[in-house]
């Protein structure tokens, strides 16, 4: 333990704690900017500086460990002046047109500037306008708002191992950019959107597509239907002033109805369907000597990553479309036939915790008629939050409404798809009972739950011990993919999610996602699961019905046509013409 003094208060804290965290324990919150929970300390913004008696310079509290006997001032005139000056310097090189920024009122720089009481900058603007990168379906990068804090670079490099974003140039010309100042689309970007999730300002955001949805809703010739992903029900509340982990399923249905959607469906339905198809695919691969291990295919960030980096293991990936795309395919076949409308008159919207889903929906493979996308528009949780606010809905006080049919009856197994380990657990609940032809004694597979990067367990299927694994983050996915490539993977089935924590930590979830928030969202999903009347996908009566009425059998011809897909090895074209913001120095 170290005894020290902060602002005339004597405190005692564990050694090795940073001054920032030590102060926090005593309710002294030192402002920060580049610092982000879960990411390594960057210390480049210098906002969190404090004064230590006996030292000439100021030190950054985020990176300096406490020491016995330290006397620290977090608010001396020298400190306050330094923080203010630094913030003014940042503002002088930032597009401060806050009213015309989607991050308005949700911006860490704006908040800092307000906390420090800055009402004018002493410094002249040095901003040089650079072009905006919108050359992809998922993300928008506006370098004029970038404050070079480096969070996106760290998340892209260290959490995802994708190394798409990098600091380029030096001094005042330093920029955050894909290599050689090109577009995101000209690099191996998976569009996971973790960069947009950690950006303190509005420099990297999902591409806003709410206008397209408003237009469709107001078009009388369109039947507009919407699906919501499992993770949405435990994360949207945060966007609307509720605590992390609030379960708001019924409220979302009500809000979507108020907004004007004709039918509100649940992606959980096609998550259950995925389990039937994918479970049968696994059984088929195991029993017929197919390519193993089989890897899940629900996560479009992971699919992009595998196609770009590991073409050798594409045969290992399940051919099942993701639940979003199974929903889209059934909407534009089964549903249109059932309600008797033309495909082109149906408009399908998805609400996803994900930015890569926007990319997925536009893949040419994801169209049953080869002309129109099965899912027309994908909105992130944050975009839906915006629509609810635009609509003036008091979300917190909404009554619950049930999902519409035929895609409204779901199971607990589908709900947990929204977190790491969930797809695996849902699959095991079904595969175990189908193969062993006896009910599971305990349906909770606790070994595959939680935020550990690597999880594994063994299940007995038909008298054979089968090893399965669960990984999340692309850095961990890379390790598991290398294993498969080298032929050293001991597993039969692997679940991969690109984002930390799975979809509840997706790049399209509300800002401020960190380990504790992720855990709360996860806990909420298992609460949803526990409260469901049916907790195994193969026991969902609507699923049974759709096979009877339409699909006939798992892995059958209709399934093959509608619910399965294929993958391509693709090296991104490093196209010279696509040069965007080349910093020159």
């Amino acid at each position: 333990m170290a005894k020290l003094r902060i602002n005339n208060i004597d405190i005692e804290v564990e050694d090795n704690l940073t001054i920032l965290n030590a102060a926090k324990k005593y309710n002294i919150n030192i402002p920060t900017l580049c610092n982000y929970p879960d990411l390594h300390i960057n210390s480049e913004c210098r906002i969190c500086v404090v004064e230590i008696e006996g030292r000439k310079g100021l030190v950054t509290s985020c990176s300096t460990p406490v020491r016995d006997g330290m006397v620290i001032k977090t608010n001396s005139p020298r400190v306050l002046n330094a923080r203010k000056t630094i913030t003014e310097l940042i503002l002088a090189n930032h597009d401060s047109n806050c009213n015309a920024c989607a991050k308005n009122m949700n911006c860490e720089l704006q908040n800092l500037s307000s906390v420090l009481g800055i009402d004018k900058s002493r410094f002249e603007s040095t901003l040089e306008i650079a072009p905006i990168d919108e050359d992809n379906p998922s993300l928008m990068r506006n370098p004029n708002r970038c404050i070079k804090c480096g969070r996106c670079v760290i998340v892209c490099k260290e959490v995802q191992s994708t190394n798409v974003l990098e600091l380029m140039g030096r001094s005042h010309a330093l920029t955050v950019t894909p290599a050689f100042g090109k577009f995101l689309s000209s690099e191996e970007c998976t569009f996971c959107g973790q960069c947009s999730s950690v950006c303190p300002v509005g420099a990297i955001m999902e591409k806003d597509e709410t206008d397209k949805v408003w237009a469709a809703i107001n078009n009388d010739n369109k039947r507009v239907i919407v699906q919501i992903a499992p993770a949405v029900r435990v994360s949207l509340g945060e966007e609307l002033g509720m605590a992390p982990g609030s379960i708001v399923t019924g409220k979302i249905v009500s809000a979507l109805k108020l907004i004007g959607f004709d039918d509100v469906f649940d992606t959980d339905f096609t998550a259950d369907l995925t389990i039937i198809e994918e479970g049968n695919e696994l059984i088929q691969r195991v029993t017929t000597g197919g390519t193993l291990p089989m890897i899940t295919s629900c996560c479009p960030g992971w699919i992009n990553f595998a196609e770009q980096n590991f073409p050798e293991i594409l045969p290992n990936i399940s051919t099942c479309k993701s639940p979003q795309q199974m929903f889209g395919a059934l909407s534009k076949s089964y549903f249109t036939e059932k309600v008797g409308i033309k495909k082109e008159d149906l408009f399908v919207v998805s609400i996803m915790p994900c930015t890569a889903k926007k990319y997925e929906a536009q893949r040419p493979e994801m169209s049953v008629d080869g002309k129109h996308p099965d899912v027309d528009v994908v909105l992130t949780v944050r975009e839906l939050g915006k629509m609810i606010k635009q609509m003036g809905i008091d979300f917190k006080t909404l009554e619950d409404t049930k999902f519409d049919n035929p895609f409204g009856i779901t199971t607990g197994a589908a709900a947990i798809f929204g977190n790491t380990g969930g797809v695996m657990e849902a699959a095991l609940r079904t595969v175990y009972e189908v193969v062993n032809k006896k009910p599971l004694e305990n349906i909770d597979f606790k070994d595959v739950r939680g935020l550990d990067g690597f999880k594994e367990t063994t299940v007995n299927l038909g008298g054979m011990d089968v090893k399965v694994a669960v990984v999340h983050t692309l850095a961990n996915a890379r390790i598991i993919a290398e294993q498969i490539k080298n032929g050293t993977s001991p597993y039969a089935f692997i679940e991969v999610m690109a984002c930390p924590g799975g979809c509840i930590g997706g790049g399209g979830t509300p800002y401020g996602t960190n380990t504790s928030v992720r855990q709360k969202r996860i806990d909420a999903l298992y609460e949803v699961d526990g409260a469901m009347a049916i907790r195994k996908s193969h026991e969902n009566p609507s699923i049974t019905k759709i096979y009877e009425e339409y699909l006939i059998k798992p892995l059958g011809e209709k399934s093959h046509h509608l619910l399965h897909t294929h993958y391509h090895a693709r090296k991104v074209k490093h196209n010279e013409d696509k040069k965007n913001v080349m910093a020159t120095y």
Binding site: S43, R46, L89
Partner: protein, 419 residues
Amino acid sequence: MKEMKVISKRFDKVNPLSIQDYINTNGYTFLKKAIKMERISIIEEVEASYLRGRGGAGFPTHIKMMGLAKETSMPKYIICNADEGEPGNFKDRAILEKDPYAVIEGMTIVAYATGATKGYVYIRGEYLEALKIMKHCIQEATENNLLGNNILGEKFNFTLEVRSGAGSYVCGEEFALIESIEGKPGRTRIKPPFPTQKGVFNQPTMISNVETFANIPFIIEIGGKEYHKIGTPSSTGTKLLSLSGNIKNPGVYEVPFGVTIRAVIEELGGGTLNNRKIKMIQLGGSCGPIIPEYMLDMIIDYERFEEFESKTGSGAIIVMDDRSDIFDILMNTVLFFEHESCGKCVPCREGHVQLLKIIDKFVKRTASSKDLDSLESLARVMHQTSLCGLGQSSPTSIISTIRFFRDEYLDRIDHPASN
């Protein structure tokens, strides 16, 4: 006053490329002596000498050596910082080109004392001649069993490699240099951990200046106690000075610590050309303070230099006569740092551009008293909050001129548009 040639004793007297010349002039005698000593006694000798780093910061060398010796994670590295890029400094170049084996011998002794097995000499990209010489000398030393495996038949391995940057000034900063050796852009890291804990490739590393290593054989020769008698109590030994500017005989001179700046300028440098009146000098190079003529009787030692809130111990003296304009010099200096900032931290990245804008107003005589306040405040914030030595020391010329030449600033404010 005469020079005291200890480090420069072989300068222009031997063929720097010839290892035989070096050996004939007592070279490698002290590695042979050191290698028979207890490792800890070598560090104790350095401690007794109180040798301080010659790159500018003046950190006691034995503390670094002890820090590295205590680390158990292998391999351990020694890096010679030969990225001499500070405008006004050229003394390391003289050592590298005129007595390269002394640096190699010094590094080898330190490696033996600390248990390091691998070393780098990181040479400034523009020092093409030094690069060539150092590569040649490392090869010669290796062929003569003075580098490599089982050096001098002992159980001691130490290999040395030359690395060079692409001309970035900030790579002289220890962590930027380490990143550069690793093949990354030259941007510094956060301390702690310090290089002796986690340096190059995250392994324990001692990084010191060329002149520091060149001092090591001499300390082993005469012993720490004798060495301590040279110079002043807080600054022991001799110092190589880079003398430039308006001076009759510019060049590198070696003097014991404690002589006055005036004696160096007048007696070694021969005074100014045409005997012009000295207006001011800049100490330590572009990142050092600019002080007025009346302070020339100040002695050269680390403690005196530290009074200027700056680390100016590299030994550069730039002489400027009465024709020099402060704002010309500031403009030139700050432009240099604005170009060389790595851009990682806010005060340095965004600060230099703003300093330039304000200085420009003084150049054009459009400045107000508010601009003077902003200039001083910004310079101090950069000095106090920048991540590495570059942004911490680059505003020194501004802070010192506001202190010593305030009238010239006020003159520009009081006479708007008189130009």
